[in-house]
């Protein structure tokens, strides 16, 4: 199939998925008990105030009408309004999403830069000391509760050693560079403001490091398995028989053969880390989607929760599509279809 047709088909298929997703969150949020209006109006509110508030947010309409209104609004860029802060959900998402994206990209970079070579090393020295060390470390990383690790890092790197700031995205006393992408490090670089870049980076360092740990183990393990498989191929035996230096075989042939597996796991982890950011952001008070989700959730603030869920659905779908397209570029034998 031609790439353009394939892309179009995949993108169209995202729509029913999002409809299903929104229906699910909508149903769960509206049918189950909970009193968002009461929570937003406060305990002293009179019946009139509560009714006015319900009317203002369209909560007095029948549920199917509410749902259709919501879906209609989504397509027109009206993602609803927070009952708690009265801010527009889309405005909030515009601020918080780049923060989470920045954090996730940083974490994925760390996980890839460390995990892929570690997995490679592990495979090349199979069952020898480096392999054992890497595998044991990886196993521990999987078993550590991320939020505990975050607390330890915060305490050691942030407080005891005082190397990095322990919360927020930027120095609270300074103004961050003007928002272009919303990712402060990128914005600072765009303005060539290296001082601001340094400040933003130091705020990003610890949360990103902690977040990356969750993926480090899987990236390492998958890379190891892929390299082992690639090393086992007849072509490698042939190349060795031809007298091609082992180093060249590894970097030139084996690495290429493992790219698909590495790409898959990195893309998957990108999605998972974005979700895992919920915990890390809460601990580091890092104002991103995750913190927003938890705060909205604790306040029973439905509209932001739905907005976040749908945004995650979109991002996840796009990552999946991008990965599938990239397969075909790396390995021309793979057909789109």
């Amino acid at each position: 199939m031609i790439l353009r047709v394939y892309l179009l088909r995949r993108l169209v298929l995202v729509i029913p998925l999002l409809l299903g997703l929104s229906l699910l969150t909508f149903t769960v949020s509206r049918i189950l008990p909970g009193d968002p209006v009461g929570l937003a109006a406060g305990p002293q509110a009179t019946q009139e105030i509560r009714e006015a508030l319900a009317r203002q947010f369209g909560l007095d309409q029948p549920l199917p009408v509410q749902y259709l209104n919501y879906i209609g609004g989504l397509f027109q860029g009206d993602w609803g309004q927070s009952l708690y802060s009265r801010r527009l959900v889309l405005d909030d998402l515009r601020v918080f999403f780049p923060a989470t994206l920045e954090l996730t990209i940083a974490a994925v970079l760390i996980a890839t830069v460390v995990g892929v070579p570690a997995g490679f090393l592990s495979a090349v020295y199979r069952d020898k000391l480096p392999d054992q060390v890497v595998r044991i470390i990886a196993l521990f990383f999987v078993s550590f509760p991320a939020f505990w690790l975050a607390m330890i890092f915060q305490s050691i790197l942030g407080v005891t050693l005082d190397w990095f700031p322990i919360s927020k995205r930027f120095d609270v006393l300074l103004a961050p560079p003007p928002a272009v992408t919303g990712m402060i490090t990128v914005d600072a670089l765009l303005k060539l403001d290296f001082n601001a870049f340094g400040i933003a980076l130091s705020h990003l360092a610890t949360p990103a490091l902690v977040l990356s740990f969750g993926s480090l183990a899987s990236v390492t393990r998958i890379t190891r398995a892929a390299v082992l498989e690639a090393l086992d191929r007849d072509s490698v035996r042939m190349e060795r028989a031809l007298g091609i230096p082992y180093r060249v075989i590894l970097t030139k042939y084996v690495l290429r053969g493992t790219l698909i597996a590495i790409l898959t796991i990195v893309a998957l982890e990108f999605g998972w880390l974005m979700a895992g950011a919920v915990l890390v952001e809460t601990i580091f008070d890092f104002p991103g989607l995750g913190l927003y989700a938890v705060e909205s959730s604790l306040r029973l603030d439905f509209e932001p929760i739905m907005g976040i869920t749908i945004l995650y659905g979109i991002v996840f779908s796009l990552i999946n599509i991008a990965t599938d397209v990239a397969y075909g570029i790396i390995d021309p034998r793979i057909r789109y279809g």
Binding site: G271, A275, V294, S297, F316
Partner: protein, 309 residues
């Protein structure tokens, strides 16, 4: 033709048939296999210990896990008072950290086991139906699975637990109801393979019902994948419970859980380090134990891995 079927068998097949030993009692076979793997044994011991503490923790614990003692707040490990030794120190209300870790194991075990049973049961059933019947049922079920997979689990859990009132039961239910997708996928794939096997055709030929075929012939052949998956999911569920309780979206006080203990100690991590260190170690060891045992189970049960290395 059936008369000389023996002649057409390959020699290796004959040898294998002849080598079938009288069946060992299952439990004995289990331990015999386990003894060969030190890592598996370690995992098994950890798991048994944690389960024991979960069941009998209240009797084993040296102190009452809920007993306040405001005169002995934030006491370091090894603190001795008139009521006894506080091996791992006390928390902000003077409660014994060691006893709370022991008692807290029950929530972890409960969540780990029950949520995995719920998720596994739903997932296996969906996978069986989806794989066996195919067609539109398969399509509908798998699209639902896709939908659930396209949204990160933790976001879903945060969303749902914000809406439902949080608590132990809710948490288990959420973990169970969102966790079935992986099982369904894996089992469906296995069923698709098993469905084409000759013994299934034979079962049809002798007139067995589809219900009978699914549960008597297909299920036993695909269940080991579900068991392998379940073993790894227990650790995931335990970590999820502690994370959510930590965030305030899971189990609520006064129930004792490791996640809540970490939340209690968070603000004083630099002074009362024992309040976070020991519950953290408890979670890590438990998950490690489950992972060790799960890895070993996979080695034993998965025919693709068995015999390698």
């Amino acid at each position: 033709m059936t008369a000389n079927a023996h002649d057409t068998m390959a020699p290796s097949q004959v040898a294998r048939l002849a080598a079938v030993k009288p069946r060992q009692p299952r439990l004995l076979a289990f331990f015999a296999l386990l003894r060969r793997s030190p890592v598996g044994t370690l995992g098994f011991i950890i798991v048994i210990l944690v389960v024991f503490l979960a069941l009998f923790g209240a009797w084993v614990a040296p102190h009452d896990a809920q007993a306040n003692n405001l005169r002995a707040r934030y006491m370091p490990p090894g603190f001795v008072s008139e009521t006894g030794v506080f091996t791992l120190g006390t928390d902000q209300l003077g409660r014994d950290v060691f006893s709370r870790i022991i008692v807290g194991s029950s929530v972890s075990v409960l969540v780990g086991v029950v949520s995995v049973i719920i998720a596994g049961t739903i997932g296996v059933l969906v996978g069986l139906v989806s794989g066996f019947f195919g067609g539109w049922i398969d399509n509908v079920l798998m699209r639902i699975a896709d939908g659930l997979l396209s949204i990160p689990f933790i976001v879903l859990v945060v969303a749902i637990s914000g809406v439902l009132s949080a608590g132990l039961g809710t948490l288990i239910l959420i973990l169970g109801l969102t966790g079935w997708v992986t099982y369904a996928r894996v089992i469906r794939g296995e069923v698709l393979k098993a469905r084409e096997m000759e013994y299934i055709v034979a079962a049809y030929a002798i007139g067995q019902s589809r219900f009978h075929i699914i549960f008597q012939h297909i299920l036993p052949n695909v269940i080991s994948s579900a068991i392998i998956l379940a073993a790894s999911q227990v650790g995931v569920a335990i970590l999820a419970e502690s994370s959510l309780s930590f965030l305030g979206l899971g189990v609520k006080p006064p129930t004792v859980t490791w996640g809540l203990m970490l939340a209690d100690g968070r603000q004083v991590i630099n002074s009362a380090w024992w309040m976070t260190t020991f519950p953290g170690i408890a979670i890590t060891i438990t998950v490690l134990g489950v992972t060790f045992l799960g890895d070993w189970l996979r080695d034993v049960l998965d025919p693709n891995v068995r015999g390698r290395n």
